[in-house]
Amino acid sequence: MILKELTELNGISGNETKVMEFIKSHAVKYADNITVDSMGNLIAMKKGSVGKYKVMLSAHMDEVGLMVTGYSEGMLKFKTVGGIDERILPGKRVLVGDERIPGIIGVKPIHVQEREERNVNIKIKSMYIDIGVDKKEEAEALSPLGEQIAFYSEYQELGTDCIKAKALDDRVGCSILIEALKNSYEFDLYACFTVQEEVGLRGSEVAAYSVRPDIALVIEGTTCSDVPGVDEQSYSSTMGGGAVLTIMDRTSYVDKELVKFLYNLGVQNNIKVQYKKTTTGGNDAGKIQLSGTGVKVASISAPCRYIHSPVSVMSKNDYYACLELTKLALRELGKEETMKRLLNIGGEKNV
C-alpha cells in the first residue's frame, strides 16, 4: 500500500503538484500516455486491446486545508479551502507551504476568555497560526499571502484493521487508480487524477470533457457517521461494511444499471458492498455525468470517519473491498455484452 506516502504528501486544492508528481512517478511505469492539462489534472491513459470503448476512472488528488490571508504581527491569519468544521481546528498542528514550515493553530487562552466567549464556538477569524516568529516581516517572508496550509498528521495503524491519516479523501481513490493501471484491459482506460474537487468539482469537469468516456467510475473516500450519538437511520455508511455505492447525492443521481451491476458483482464475489444511506454531499460524478452529451457514472467509496479532518479513520478491509470491486468491475466491463447492456446499445432503435 502506498497510502502512507500518498496521505503524507500535501496537496491542498489548487496546489496539487507534489501529489501529482508522486502519482506520475508510479503511473509512468504502467500507462501508455500521460498528460497534465491546463488545470493540473493528471490523465494516465492505457490503450486497450480492442479499444472500442473508453472507461474513465476518476479520483481527486486535492485535499481540504487552509490558506494564509493575513498577519497579526508574526501570527498568520487564515481561511479554509474546502469544507472544514472550524470547531476542530484549535490546537492542531499544521505545515505551511511547500517548505512544510511547522505551525500550531492557536486561540485566546481560556483563562482570559470572557464567560460568554467560553459558551460559543470559536470562529476562524479569532484563530491564528503560530509559526514561532514575532514580526510580520518574518512571517511574510516565510509564508507569503496565499500560501497553502495542510494538516500535519502521520499515517498510523489503529487496532488490527484501521488506519488514521489526513487526506484519505481522496488519496484512497488515487491509490486504487494506480493499482488499476497495473492491469491490461480491452477498452482504453483513462485514469484521471483530478484537481480542485473540494472547492467545487472543478478539475473533473474539464478532464471528462477531454476524455469523453462511455462509462466513468469515481473512486472516493466518503463520510461515515456510525458513531455514538447518531441514530442508525442517519448513518451515511458503516465502517467495516465494505465498499460504499452512492445512489444519489446532491450532485448526481448515478446510473441505476451501473450501480446495480456493481452491487451484484460485489455480492456474487463475496466483496462487501453497502449503499450510502444519505443523499447529502457530492463528488466528481456530478460533473462527469453532465459533461458533453452525458456519461454513465457510478461511485465506489471507502467509508472514512472524521473526514475532512487531520484524523480520518478508515478500515483496511473496506479499502480492499473498494480495490477488489473496482478491479473486478473493470474486468467485467471488458466484456462486449456487459458494455452493450450497460450502454443500452441496440436497445433504442431509430424509427
Binding site: 437511520q233 442517519s234 458533453g292 431509430n350 424509427v351
Partner: protein
C-alpha cells in the same frame, strides 16, 4: 387534452427514474417523428428532420418524489427528498413506489412544534410488520412518487406532476399536429430537471440548436394571501422573461410575443423571482444558445394537487406550433 394529461400524470417518473413515462411518451409520438433516441442520461430526443432552422423544444418528464434511505426493525421507511419536497405538503399523503407499493407519509408525533417539522421527522408506513417484510417490497434506493390522480374541476385540472407533464402534453400535441415546415425540430423530453436542470444540459450539447424553447409550469399570484406575482390561471400561457436561472433571449421572447399577437392568443408575462427551469441550463451550453420559454400557470406546485387551466394548456399548444414553423 384532459385524457392525455391524465395518462401522463399517472405514469411513474421520479427524477432519475423516467423509464415508465418515457415509454409512454415514445408510444404517443413514435409514428409522427423521423427519429427517436435516448441518450446516456435518459433524455428522449424526437427529431423532425428539415433543412431550415435548428430548434430545440424541451419539457421535462421527471417529477419530484422520495427515495428510501433506511428501513427500521419495525418496517418503517425513512426517506430523502428527490427534488424540492415540502415536509408540510407531505404530511398524511400517500406515496406509490415504482413496483406499486403504497405507503402513508406520517411524522414522529412526539415533535413539540409542527413548525420545526423536517423531512427527517417523517417516515413512510407501508403496512409491513417488520423490517424483513418491508424489505420484500422496498429496498434502500427505491423511489416513490406522491399519489394525486388527475381530476377535472371546471376548466381546471387537479393532479400531481402537472409540473411538467402539462408541458409534455403541449409537446406531444404539437408533434401530432405540426404543420409542414423546413425547420429541423428536436423535441426533447428531459430528465432530472428537478435535481438541477441536468438532462437539458447534455441534450442541448448534443443538439447545439440555433435557439431553444422550453415548456414548463410557473407559479401564480392568484390565490388568497399569496406572494405577489403577475400570473393568473386561465389568463393564457405566460412568456417567460426571467427566473432564477435565466434571463430569456430577446429574440425568442419576441418570436413568442409576436406569434401570440398574430394568433390573437391571450398571453401573460412571467417574471419568476426564484426557481430555475431547463432554459437555465440550455442557454449556457457550449458557445451559448438563445433560449426562452412558454410557461403554464400552475397553483400549488410540487404538491400532490397542483392545479392548471386546460385552456391555458390548449393555448400553449397553439402558440408553440405557430412559433416553430416561422
Amino acid at each position: 387534452m384532459f385524457e392525455l394529461i391524465k395518462n401522463l400524470t399517472d405514469k411513474f417518473g421520479v427524477s432519475g427514474n423516467e423509464e415508465e413515462i418515457r415509454e409512454f411518451i415514445k408510444g404517443e409520438i413514435k409514428s409522427k417523428v423521423d427519429s427517436i433516441e435516448v441518450d446516456a442520461l435518459g433524455n428522449l430526443i424526437a427529431t423532425k428532420k428539415g433543412n431550415g432552422k435548428k430548434i430545440m423544444v424541451a419539457a421535462h418528464m421527471d417529477e419530484i418524489g422520495v427515495m428510501a434511505t433506511h428501513i427500521d426493525e419495525k418496517g418503517f421507511i425513512r426517506f430523502s427528498n428527490i427534488g424540492w419536497v415540502s415536509q408540510n405538503y407531505s404530511l398524511g399523503q400517500r406515496v406509490r413506489f415504482k413496483n406499486g407499493t403504497i405507503g402513508t407519509v406520517f411524522f414522529e408525533e412526539k415533535l413539540d412544534d409542527l413548525k420545526s417539522l423536517k423531512l427527517s421527522n417523517l417516515y413512510i408506513d407501508i403496512g409491513a410488520k417488520n423490517s424483513e417484510e418491508a424489505q420484500k417490497k422496498v429496498n434502500i434506493g427505491d423511489t416513490a412518487a406522491f399519489c394525486g390522480p388527475a381530476e377535472l374541476a371546471g376548466d381546471m385540472i387537479i393532479s400531481k406532476a402537472l409540473d411538467d407533464r402539462s408541458g409534455c402534453a403541449v409537446l406531444i400535441e404539437t408533434i401530432k399536429n405540426l404543420p409542414k415546415t423546413d425547420n429541423e425540430i428536436y423535441f426533447v423530453f428531459t430528465v432530472q430537471e428537478e435535481l438541477g436542470l441536468r438532462g437539458a444540459k447534455t441534450a442541448a450539447f448534443r443538439i447545439l440548436p440555433d435557439f431553444a424553447i422550453a415548456v414548463d409550469v410557473t407559479l401564480t399570484g392568484d390565490t388568497p394571501d399569496c406572494k405577489t406575482m403577475e400570473v393568473k390561471c386561465g389568463m393564457g400561457p405566460a412568456i417567460k422573461i426571467k427566473d432564477g436561472s435565466v434571463v430569456c433571449h430577446n429574440d425568442v421572447r419576441k418570436l413568442l410575443t409576436e406569434t401570440a399577437k398574430k394568433l390573437n392568443l391571450p398571453i401573460q408575462y412571467e417574471i419568476l423571482e426564484r426557481g430555475g427551469s431547463d432554459p437555465g441550463a440550455i442557454h449556457l451550453t457550449a458557445g451559448g444558445i438563445p433560449s426562452g420559454a412558454i410557461s403554464i400557470p400552475c397553483r400549488y406546485t410540487h404538491s400532490p394537487s397542483e392545479m392548471a387551466s386546460i385552456s391555458d394548456i390548449d393555448n400553449a399548444v397553439k402558440l408553440l406550433k405557430e412559433s416553430l414553423i416561422g
